[in-house]
Amino acid sequence: MLEIKNLKAQIENKEILKGLNLKLEKGKVHAIMGPNGAGKSTLSKTIVGHYEVKVTDGEILFDDKNVLDMEPEERALNGIFLSFQNPVEVPGVNNAYFLRNALNAKRKFEGKEELNAAEFLKLMKSHLEQLGMKKDMIQRSLNEGFSGGEKKRNEILQMEILEPKVVILDEIDSGLDIDALKAVSEGINRLKSEDRTFLVITHYSRILDYIKPDYIHVLQDGKIVKTGGYDLVHALEAEGYKIIDEE
């Protein structure tokens, strides 16, 4: 579904990704683990076209289209979604208004009819309830004054409503207490489907116990150095990344 071939990318003239290859399969959950500075966040930024990243080589194919030729919003409209590690605050921009605009941009792109305010509110309310979020999320400004947990849940809310095809979760678990972690994981599990791919970037196995990935990839020094099944998590947990160096 999404294929990354020999990807080389720089941030501030420093090469971070050094010929990375990765194939994400339809309907599967992929997890990427790796030590700090290995290039995990750069990988997610590169896929969504972040302005800091300069790609020097390679390609990213998504349903046979080269993602690297697309503007960030085009990638989003085609179904690539990134849950940000630190969602930025946008004062004065109403959370519901923003999300309705985003959803309608997508529906328009897909040739569907746009939702009016009432239809959208109904949809949003049902998702808020499922995620255990307060109703005031409708009125509040986008991420402004949100707690860490609220920001992460809001990312999941957007994911649920936008129904993307490729979901990249960049450290969705960082800074969450156990209840929030559960709510977020449940949200992810609800969205698992045959047509959807997840790429979960994390430091910890905790969230992986909830969402049970199909594949674990180890990213080190800008390349995928090992791929395995779910049990690889526990080997890494027990031994650390040195098990890879030893091989």
Binding site: Y51, P72, E73, F81, F84, V88, V90, A105
Partner: protein, 477 residues
């Protein structure tokens, strides 16, 4: 005033902007007693008005142009200006009009006939707001509301004019006010009688009146006891004027229990990206809450002009009177704005609110300058000020100059100020959710000005929102 008189006034007003049969006299450039006499004579004014104009001229001659504002422009040669010029050479049809302007009209949804009027093209008499105007004139007339040009008022209501003109903005208030007092060409006069609530937004249907009188406009609005009026000035359509210098004066008088709401959309030609060719807009706007429990509210959306120098103010003289100032000022291209307000608290329990939103893009420079003064006797007065600046890009500037003076210990003054930048991260976040870049900028800017836009009368607010989008087009590079 009888119905026929009202009709006459209204229809004359209607002709003023675009009729082809206006006499086309022009005085040679320069400003002296002869010029003033020429203007006064052209307007067929009474002797007393001419005397006041000449008095203003002599005072102006002794005054110096102020340079304290954070503005940078080439010196103005006041003797090189013609103070009564022949009407603009109007194009014969819309085909001759700059396609860019037409495109903007299109986006704003301005009807074809009105587009023609805005460009000074003669239109058919069937233009449908003529009948609308007649209907409204009758309503206003029945209520005893006077709504006419200031020239008319000088002739027809000399007592009201003598009593209130210069009472809020004295002739010698400042350099530009003095200049205006000597040479003002036209403007609007409104009087709302005691206890009358004006049932419509004034000037919504009369917006065309302003054309051709924009340069030295003079407006006077008097709201008698317990009356209410909402007045809208300007329009969102881009306005061009060959006259580079504009110096308008607006005076508002609210008597006991009266309320005046004054909304402005200013969209004079901003000049090019080097600052060439735009309008210099030096405006003095001030209202007095003369009676107890009176209220004056200024709302402005400033998007045009290359130079804006403007501080709509309130003198809170009556006890329990209220002053408000809501402002959105956008500077893009090479525009400069030095704008804000003055809230002078004199009466007891007076309160004022200031919400100012400055947006700077490209090479725009935006300054907020505001004074809050609590005088000796203004027991228990309070002010709340919020001044926020938003920067788009890295070549623009925002500046805040608040002046707070309190001579009464019981007063409360609050001032909040923020400066923020539309960050790449915010834009990227919105784009990652599928919102295109232009919509993303617009969303962030609207979010920023929401508190002010909410103050505008509905119809004006819709125009203002569209205008913000158009003004900001291409400001992200």
């Amino acid at each position: 005033m009888s119905q026929s008189e009202v009709d006459k006034i209204v229809n004359q007003e209607y002709k003023l902007g675009f009729s082809t049969d206006i006499e086309s006299d022009t005085v040679p450039p320069g400003l002296n007693e002869e010029t003033i006499k020429f203007i006064s004579n052209k307007k067929d004014e009474p002797e007393w008005m001419l005397d006041l104009r000449i008095k203003a001229l002599h005072k102006w001659e002794k005054m110096k142009e102020p340079h304290w504002a954070h503005l940078n422009y080439k010196p103005i040669d006041y003797q090189a200006i013609s103070y009564f010029s022949e009407p603009k050479q109007a194009p014969d049809s819309l085909e001759e009009v700059d396609p860019k302007i037409l495109e903007t009209y299109e986006k704003l949804g301005i009807p074809l006939e009105e587009q023609k009027m805005l460009q000074g093209i003669a239109v058919d008499a069937v233009f449908d707001s003529v009948s609308v105007k007649t209907t409204f004139s009758k309503t206003l007339n029945d209520l005893g509301i006077i709504f006419c040009s200031i020239s008319e008022a000088i002739k027809d209501y000399p007592e009201l004019v003598k009593k209130y003109m210069y009472s809020v903005v004295p002739m010698t208030d400042n350099y530009y006010a003095a200049l205006n007092s000597a040479v003002f060409t036209d403007g609007t006069f409104v009087y709302i009688p005691k206890g009358v609530r004006c049932p419509m937004e004034l000037s919504t249907y009369f917006r065309i009146n302003a054309i051709g009188t924009g340069q030295f406009e003079r407006t006077l609005i008097v709201a008698d006891e317990d009356s209410y009026v909402s007045y809208n000035e300007g329009c969102s359509a881009p306005q061009r004027d060959e006259n580079q210098l504009h110096a308008a004066v607006v005076e508002l008088v609210a008597l006991k229990g009266a309320e005046i709401k004054y909304s402005t959309i200013q969209n004079w030609y901003p000049g090019d990206e080097n600052g060439d060719g735009g309008i210099y807009n030096f405006v003095t706007k001030r209202g007095i809450c003369k009676g107890d429990h009176s209220k004056i509210s200024w709302t402005q959306v400033e998007t045009g002009s290359s130079i804006t120098w403007k501080y709509p103010s309130c003198i809170l003289e009556g006890d329990n009177s209220v002053g408000e100032f809501y402002s959105v000022a956008i500077t893009t291209l090479a525009q400069q704005a030095d704008t804000g307000t003055k809230m002078i608290h004199r009466g007891k329990n007076t309160s004022s609110t200031i919400i100012s939103k400055g947006i700077s893009a490209l090479k725009g420079q935006n300054s907020y300058r505001g004074l809050v003064r609590i005088e000796n006797d203004a027991e228990n007065s309070r002010n709340f000020s919020e001044c926020d600046s938003l920067l788009i890009g890295s070549h623009c500037g925002a500046h805040t100059y608040p002046y707070l003076e309190s001579a009464n210990e019981s007063a409360q003054i609050e001032h909040e100020a923020t400066t923020s930048k539309i960050s790449d991260e915010q834009l990227f976040y919105l784009r990652q959710r599928g919102v295109n870049e232009e919509d993303a900028v617009s969303m962030i800017v609207h979010g920023f000005c929401k508190d002010v836009l909410n103050q505008l009368p509905m119809e004006f607010a819709v125009e203002a929102r569209e205008l913000l989008n158009i003004t900001l087009e291409g400001s992200v590079g």
